[in-house]
């Protein structure tokens, strides 16, 4: 019953209420069994927010290194990886969390490893040379890393079926809404796909792609860069698109990759998503999401990472930089003096940490926004059932939901018998701004109830299946590619770096993508190596 009379009614409910969860939670509150247990984790904001209060202990010890890397996300780890591969081992990586990896960290329980953030890597284009080299080093890319279409280890290529979409009570194949969509609207899908295929092929006279990954290698054709001044939605409207399914898919893509709605995303960024890669939508993934990539990079930094280490003051001298570092586990501070500094932490921390502020940096940061994310890992006693449509896929998306759906951690397991599983549910708080994060600060129970309400529509049995719900909170997960932020000149000074300092975070690119963070890290390392006079073979 629920399904049929419900589907229409529910969509209306959904539009009427700001959150479907509130509606469902309200009507089920009396009958609802207690929530499954679980934890709330996330960026160490208690430690992070100590940056705002200058009451940290005075350094009592001094350490020296040729290079200090601040931040152990993919940018910092990539810098460490490139330094170590080039024979430069005299560096220290300073990481605030108890583990390096940034957005690519993972959790693990008795059923399966599971992502806490980034969970897949699309097959990288030729331009992403460093990323391809890393994959070759890890044995996942087989043969020549510069080949047009290299072979990849089947274990990491996302197994079939890859994705499905829940719409009108039915699981359809693929993410383009097709069920009950008239031919005229599907013709618009085709027109859009032809348009992005054209952009994918387009090269400027210098041979650069219209939209390259890393974005630094993109064409500087003013006509293309002008797209950065529009929103993605306005671009679609300007091109005469009207099909709701197309708007939904593009908005989904923006929320999925940038944590930002299509109404706020730069059209350059929105088109970049569709036009920067050549693979046919194939992705690499693993039960632990992208943590295997972070681990692969971190091997190079083994023994040179300080964890629970909060850099709270940086002073740049003429010949060396001084970093004061609070070691939370020991409740004391140390001073790290390095000839070269690689800043691989988010840019919004710069005003809190640098002793002398440079006006051009502050100008670059002004107006930057970060998308918060909620990631819920649900441990289930059995895989959720499919009542109608395509079988369980790796990526399972709900059309009428503010969330992004769920991926199945055990999908890549070599196993054919039914067994317990972990599914990872994603929600970018695309409607929230930095100053307004009430929803983000909800309790574990409130999030758990919201996750269950969202998933109960396709899977009424979800509450009975869930034995744990662990919520992971990212307060500043991704920098938002708002209009004007990519090509409006704000990134220039960070891209350029300076005497004794290089910037290595994905923030420098303005797109929070693995390939960008990896590129920025390797580029910062190579400039640092050049300044130190160490010879190296470029990975870029």
């Amino acid at each position: 019953m629920g399904q049929g009379a419900g589907a229409l009614m529910r969509r209306r409910d959904f539009l009427a209420a700001t959150s479907a969860a509130a509606a469902l939670a309200a009507c089920g509150s009396k009958a609802a069994p207690p929530l499954p247990p679980g934890t709330l984790s996330g960026a160490n904001d208690v430690l992070g927010h100590r940056l705002r209060r200058p009451d940290l202990p005075v350094p009592t010890e001094t350490r020296r290194a040729a290079v200090a890397i601040v931040g152990g996300g993919i940018g910092g780890l990539s810098a460490a990886w490139k330094l170590a591969r080039s024979g430069c081992d005299d560096f220290l990586l300073l990481e605030m969390e108890s583990e390096a990896g940034g957005n690519s960290r993972a959790g693990r329980n008795e059923v399966s490893a599971h992502p806490l953030g980034a969970h897949y890597l699309p097959l990288p284009p030729r331009e992403a040379r460093a990323t391809r080299q890393l994959l070759a080093e890890l044995g996942v890319l087989q043969g020549d890393p510069d080949a047009a279409h290299p072979a990849y280890d089947e274990k990491y290529l996302c197994h079939a079926p890859q994705e499905r979409l829940y719409t009108n009570g039915y699981w359809q194949e693929g993410l383009w809404p097709t069920l009950g969509v008239p031919a005229t609207e599907r013709a618009q899908y085709a027109r859009f796909q032809d348009a992005v295929a054209g952009l994918r092929q387009r090269r400027d006279p210098a041979g650069r792609r219209a939209f390259a990954l890393p974005l630094a290698l993109s064409s500087r054709d003013p006509q293309l860069l002008a797209l950065d001044r529009l929103t993605m939605r306005d671009w679609l409207l300007g091109e005469g698109y009207t099909a709701p399914g197309l708007f939904w898919l593009v908005d989904y893509a923006c929320r999925d990759d940038y944590g930002t709605a299509a109404t706020q995303t730069s059209a350059w960024a929105g088109l970049h998503y569709f036009a920067c890669r050549d693979g046919e939508g194939q992705v690499l993934t693993a039960p632990e999401g992208n943590a295997w990539l972070a681990r692969g990079l971190a091997r190079a930094a083994a023994g040179r990472v300080l964890q629970n280490a909060l850099v709270f003051r940086v002073e740049q001298g003429r010949k060396e930089s001084v970093c004061d570092v609070y070691l939370a586990a020991e409740n004391r501070s140390i001073r790290v003096i390095a000839r070269e500094l690689i800043w691989a932490a988010p840019q919004f921390l710069i005003p809190h940490v640098f002793a002398a502020q440079r006006p051009e940096w502050l100008a670059g940061i002004r107006g930057a926004e970060y998308a918060p994310w909620i990631v819920a890992n649900l441990t289930l006693s059995a895989a959720p059932q499919t009542r109608a449509g395509q079988p369980l896929a790796w990526d399972n998306v709900l059309h009428d939901s503010a969330a992004l759906g769920y991926v199945v951690a055990t999908h890549q397991q070599l196993r054919y018998a039914p067994a317990p599983t972990v599914i990872t549910w994603y929600r970018a708080l695309h409607e929230e701004t930095a100053g307004h994060q009430r929803q983000l600060l909800q309790s574990r129970d409130a999030w758990a109830a919201q996750v269950l309400a969202d998933l109960a529509r396709p899977h009424p049995e979800i509450r009975e299946l869930a034995t744990r719900i662990d919520i992971h909170r990212h307060a500043h997960a991704m920098i938002r590619p708002l209009p004007g932020r990519l090509w409006g000149g704000r990134r220039r000074d960070f891209e350029r770096g300076g005497a004794g300092i290089q910037f290595a975070h994905a923030d420098v690119s303005g797109l929070s993508l693995f390939e960008e963070a990896n590129y920025r890290g390797v580029l910062a390392a190579e400039r640092t190596l050049a300044r130190l006079g160490v010879s190296f073979a470029s990975s870029l």
Partner: protein, 500 residues
């Protein structure tokens, strides 16, 4: 008056969802495990509910009387649905689909009428926004209750026929209850009362005799005597016997007939093993019936056999039942044999062992889970467990009925770095069946078969490796985990064979 009607919304919603699930389960149970079955049943049902909702505006007169009558009708049709369909299927499979969708349509229309009627009845007493909120919440809660109870309790313990009758009774009891509660507002009490009693009595009697009925119908379905039937954690296991023929069905798919299984199992084992005089350690994946093990035990040089089958009930049944032990010659009791009940993929990933000969005798690749057992990744994994001079043999569906599927498996083995030797054998119960030998070096059929056989003899061997034009090799893409093209090809090819 409001609370009883809300309770009846809960029951009515439960019943509505139950009939939908029962019809879907029955269709996939009888017609095969295709996703198609389940989704078309649900689609028709939802559509029918829409018709019902639309028709509800034409229902006039005393709404309470109409509601009671609709409940009785839903109870009767829904309650008897599973039994009727089951019976019809066993008598004649032809009109079964028409009956199935007809019944689903009819029940769906009636169920679609229920909620609008209740809302109209309650509208007199409750504000509209309250009404929508309450009725729909109870509707969803009822649906949730059944969707959880159905797979966990009802289907395994009561079975489909009795579950349907139970929900039919619930519908009829809602009718009786409403009649009693609202007796003051209803005119023709006696007629309605008699209708209630008749329906409840009919359903109750049906419930009492359902067990006998199901076994009669199931026996009719198989046209054979059922000697064993059970549902294990993984599958429905049915063993039948008719005259001197014993058959095993898993999820209603024939696994072997004692009349000609020797052809299948001799063809599976001897072309490969007879050419490996040095084979000491043998691994059998799948094949919990012990028939392949029986053939392998004929070779005195084989020192140890490991049998990895997912379902412990299968290996227990074929170790314990005297009838089945007779068929596999007590193979599962051999001291040379080690039985492991595990997922073959997981076991191979964890095990360090290597073998001289491996038999991969899995169910056909009819879904993505089983498709993994026919992938390049699996055949590469297997390579780590096969000695340098060793060999594997794979059952690979019918090269005649599913020609592209068969050659897809060959292409998959080759893509994983194996040299292949495909062959086929006629097993009357199945038709032309295909097998593939794979090794690191070229295979030459043995000139002698050193053990007693009835079908695979040295002079018959060369013909098995010859593929006539209608089964000859066609181009096929390897089956990789990231595309699983075999599952699609297999579904298309066997769908064509099974279509009437």
């Amino acid at each position: 008056m409001q609370r009883p009607l809300l309770v009846s919304v809960f029951i009515v919603a439960s019943c509505g969802l139950a009939y939908e699930l029962i019809a879907g389960a029955l269709a996939s149970y009888l017609l095969g495990d295709s996703v198609m079955q389940f989704s078309t049943v649900i689609g028709v049902y939802l559509f029918a509910m829409g018709i019902g909702s639309w028709l509800s505006k034409h229902v006039v007169g005393n709404l309470l009387v109409r509601f009671i009558q609709i409940e009785l009708l839903v109870g009767l049709l829904g309650g008897l649905s599973a039994g009727l369909l089951f019976l019809l299927f066993t008598l004649h499979a032809g009109p079964f689909r028409f009956a199935l969708y007809g019944l689903v349509l009819l029940i769906g229309i009636l169920v679609g009428l229920e909620i609008p009627l209740i809302m109209r009845i309650l509208k007199r007493e409750v504000a509209f926004k309250e009404l929508v909120a309450q009725v729909l919440s109870f509707d969803y809660i009822g649906a949730l209750a059944v969707s959880v109870l159905f797979p966990l309790l009802l289907a395994p313990h009561l079975g489909l026929v009795r579950s349907a009758l139970l929900f039919g009774l619930l519908n009829a009891l809602v009718a009786a209850w409403a009649l009693w509660l609202f007796r003051a507002q209803i005119g023709a009490l006696a007629v309605l009362r008699a209708q209630c009693v008749a329906v409840i009595a009919l359903l109750a009697v049906g419930f009492g005799f359902a067990g006998t009925f199901v076994s009669l119908a199931e026996a009719n379905l198989y046209n054979e005597d059922i000697v064993h039937a059970e549902s294990s954690a993984y599958q429905r296991i049915v063993v039948t016997r008719w005259r001197d023929e014993t058959r095993l069905y898993l999820n209603h798919n024939l696994q072997f007939s004692s009349r000609d299984e020797y052809r299948y199992h001799e063809a599976l084992v001897h072309p490969g093993l007879a050419a490996l005089p040095g084979a000491r350690n043998v691994l059998v994946l799948g094949g919990g019936d012990g028939m392949a093990v029986r053939e392998i035990l004929k070779y005195p040089q084989v020192e140890s056999i490991t049998l990895v089958d997912l379902d412990p009930r299968m290996t227990e049944l074929f170790s314990q039942s005297p009838l089945l032990r007779e068929l596999n010659g007590g193979a599962l009791a051999s001291p040379k044999l080690r039985i492991v009940n595990a997922d073959a993929l997981q076991w191979l990933e964890a095990s360090p062992e290597t073998f001289d000969f491996v038999v991969a005798d899995f169910p056909d690749p009819s879904n993505h889970s089983l498709g993994k057992l026919y992938s390049t990744a699996f055949y590469r994994l297997l390579k780590q467990h096969v000695a340098e001079t060793g060999r594997i043999v794979v059952q690979a569906t019918s090269p005649l009925y599913a020609r592209e599927s068969f050659w897809t498996v060959v292409a998959t083995l080759e893509a994983a770095g194996w040299q292949t030797a495909p062959y086929h054998a006629l097993v009357p119960s199945f038709g032309e069946w295909g097998f593939i030998l794979a090794s690191r070096r070229e295979y030459r059929p043995p000139t002698t078969i050193p053990v007693a056989t009835r079908f695979v003899t040295p002079d018959a061997l060369p013909a098995l490796f010859h593929f006539p034009a209608d089964m000859a090799r066609i181009p096929a893409e390897p089956n990789r985990l990231d595309n699983q093209n075999l599952v699609r090809v297999f579904e298309r090819e066997w769908g064509r064979v099974q279509a009437p």
